[in-house]
């Protein structure tokens, strides 16, 4: 038993956790024909349920999962696994029909039905089921109320509301001005921009994967991996001092983790050239600044001529450049994560003089 728990604790390490999440997305997209089978979907939910039942016998696991405000996230895990699988399944089924020349199943359902009674009854049943779930949930689980607010007693860990924990997890890799202001702003702007960038006329009004592979894959990566899985990580696996704790691990407030993160400028000046850091911040950070400028301004052009050639041809220049910029901003997080994990990189550009760290 403790071997299994130890293994799960190890696998839950943010690095492995993130890699596992990415791997499962790759497998989902790659093996979608097989995964579309009902047995896989319900099997996945079954495995999840077994995991939570098994876990509930462990006091540390129970403590964190049954925290009232964490209960919705347990629900979210099940719902998200189910709906991700389900939407891919629907897409695969439609793709098979399209391949056979039959068109998506929604095409067959184009006939009009009466709103009364067909829709209003569906709505009423949904409302009743939703009300019952909400009332039963409210009777069974008390809303949390802790000690009165006390500004001189900071809880450890201090966590934002659960839906912002993905952003709080980003604080490990980026400073607040990026993780808390600029990147959330770009998420909102990027979401709004989606329909104006995506020129693909296919896949409008029905589930499909084959007709919009890139769009669906990028969205799943952004939503399921970067947004949702980091919320799960931040909720269940981050304890005191925002240190990592496995799901079966005791939240030891004295757990120490060696912080040996190094700035790019130090790598280059001190370790590479064996000199001291220049006193002028611009000279000191010139390499990082150039790298960031290249990433934002040169990369889209390079990509347009190489990997993204096809997309550049399909989209016009403004759409392509806005889209490429947003895509690169999204990829900045996994890139920074990898740099942190591989070479302990702290900041690419570190100008604390102006609170300007990237």
């Amino acid at each position: 038993m403790s071997v299994v728990k130890g293994l799960i604790n190890t696998l839950a390490d943010p690095r492995l956790f993130f890699m596992l999440a990415v791997t499962s997305l790759v497998v989902l997209v790659w093996k979608r024909e097989k995964i579309a089978a009902n047995s896989v979907g319900y099997g996945l939910l079954g495995i999840l349920a077994v995991f939570f039942i098994f876990g509930s016998f462990d006091p540390n696991f129970r403590l964190i999962v049954t925290k009232p405000d964490n209960v919705p996230i347990v629900g979210l895990i099940f719902l998200l696994v189910f709906f991700t699988w389900y939407s891919v399944r629907e897409a695969v089924l439609n793709d098979r029909r399209i391949l056979a020349g039959k068109g998506p199943v929604e095409k067959e359902e184009s006939d009009r039905v009466w709103v009364w009674p067909d829709l209003v009854y569906t709505e009423m049943i949904s409302l009743i089921v939703c009300s019952v779930v909400l009332i039963v949930w409210s009777i069974l689980l008390k809303a949390p109320l802790e000690q009165p607010a006390n500004r001189s007693l900071t809880p450890n860990p201090s966590k934002a509301p659960w839906y912002f924990l993905g952003l709080q997890e980003m604080l490990v890799y980026f400073d607040p001005w990026l993780a808390g202001v600029v990147l959330p702003g770009l998420i909102i702007a990027g979401l709004i921009a989606i329909p104006y960038i995506d020129k693909n006329p296919k896949g409008n009004g029905y589930y499909t994967f084959a007709e919009r592979k890139a769009e669906v894959t990028i969205f799943l990566f952004g939503f399921v991996i970067l947004w949702a899985s980091l919320i799960v990580l931040g909720t269940f696996l981050r304890g005191p001092n925002w240190n990592f704790f496995g799901p079966f691990e005791y939240w030891d407030i004295h757990k120490l983790e060696a912080l040996t993160n190094v700035n790019l400028s130090e790598y280059i000046w001190v370790r590479g050239m064996r000199t001291g850091l220049p006193t002028n911040w611009f000279v000191r950070e010139i390499f990082g600044i150039v790298l960031v400028l290249i990433y934002i301004f040169v990369m889209p052009v390079v990509l347009a001529r190489t990997w993204f050639k096809r997309y550049y041809a399909k989209l016009d220049a403004p759409r392509y450049y806005v889209g490429a910029f947003l895509f690169l901003m999204m990829m900045a997080l996994p890139i920074k994560m990898l740099l942190r994990w591989l070479i302990n990189l702290k900041y690419i550009v570190a100008i604390p003089e102006f609170f300007f760290n990237i």
């Binding site: 405000d69 919705p72 629900g75 979210l76 719902l79 709906f83 939407s87 629907e90 068109g103 929604e106 359902e109 184009s110 009009r112 039905v113 009466w114 709103v115 009364w116 009674p117 067909d118 949904s126 409302l127 909400l134 949930w137 409210s138 689980l141 809303a143 949390p144 109320l145 802790e146 000690q147 009165p148 607010a149 201090s158 966590k159 934002a160 509301p161 839906y163 912002f164 952003l167 400073d175 607040p176 001005w177 808390g180 202001v181 909102i188 709004i192 329909p195 104006y196 995506d198 006329p201 896949g203 009004g205 029905y206 589930y207 669906v216 939503f223 100008i351 102006f354 609170f355 300007f356």
Partner: protein, 267 residues
Amino acid sequence: MADTKKEGAGTRFWNWLTETQIWKSIFRHDRPNTDRTRVLVMLSNVFLHLHPVRLRKSGVKLRYTWCMGGLSFFLFLVLTLTGLLLMFYYRPTLEYAYTDIVGLREHVPLGIMREMHRWGAHAMVITVWLHMFRVFMTGSYKPPREFNWSIGVIMLVLTLLLSFTGYLLPWDQLAIWAITVGSNMARATPFLGHEGPGSALLRLGDVPLIHAYDDARFALLGGSFVGEGALLRFYVLHCVGLPLGIAVLMAVHFWRVRKDGGISGPL
């Protein structure tokens, strides 16, 4: 209706009821069991009038819609109602906020309004996400529905802000520290936060224009920390400002669903 079978008491009562002046003054048409009355019922009722008269078959299938948009709206209504009831018992001041919640918890027999409000709020965040997920996976944001997707993104932000502002109101440790962590981000707003990049450039001679007592975080909290000002600000935003905003956008959202051709489907 040339039914010769003997009518039961229930049917006779129903027939009598639907012929009374009161009933006929409320419902201006016969029971919706013919094509004509099914049209009339949708057109003559202000609430049902949000709907079209007929819609695509896939639009009534859970397989296609997951019902998540409808549930988000329903949860919003539940939250409005339970929130209204909670407002009778809750005073947003340092003196009373916490004790009023304790009172709700300890003195109201079988009370579940706070529970319904809190879990309903969490559920609404989830249903909104799943609604957007479904809309994306069916490509329903594509023309002619681009603008409605944008409205939806703004409503997502408002939903999160509603939940975030409500999180502070119980005024317990969970509340103020979650809001402290969240609002500390505003300190780092470029140019407008006193610890944000570029804010040091905004100065007149030696006088900084952006400091801890006038930056973005101060505007959000009505103070330099999560205190009385923040509680009142969040309460007003939570109960009045944000619900009004999201209600207006909901009206636009639903209206645009109709104007953009109803529920999406293959062309």
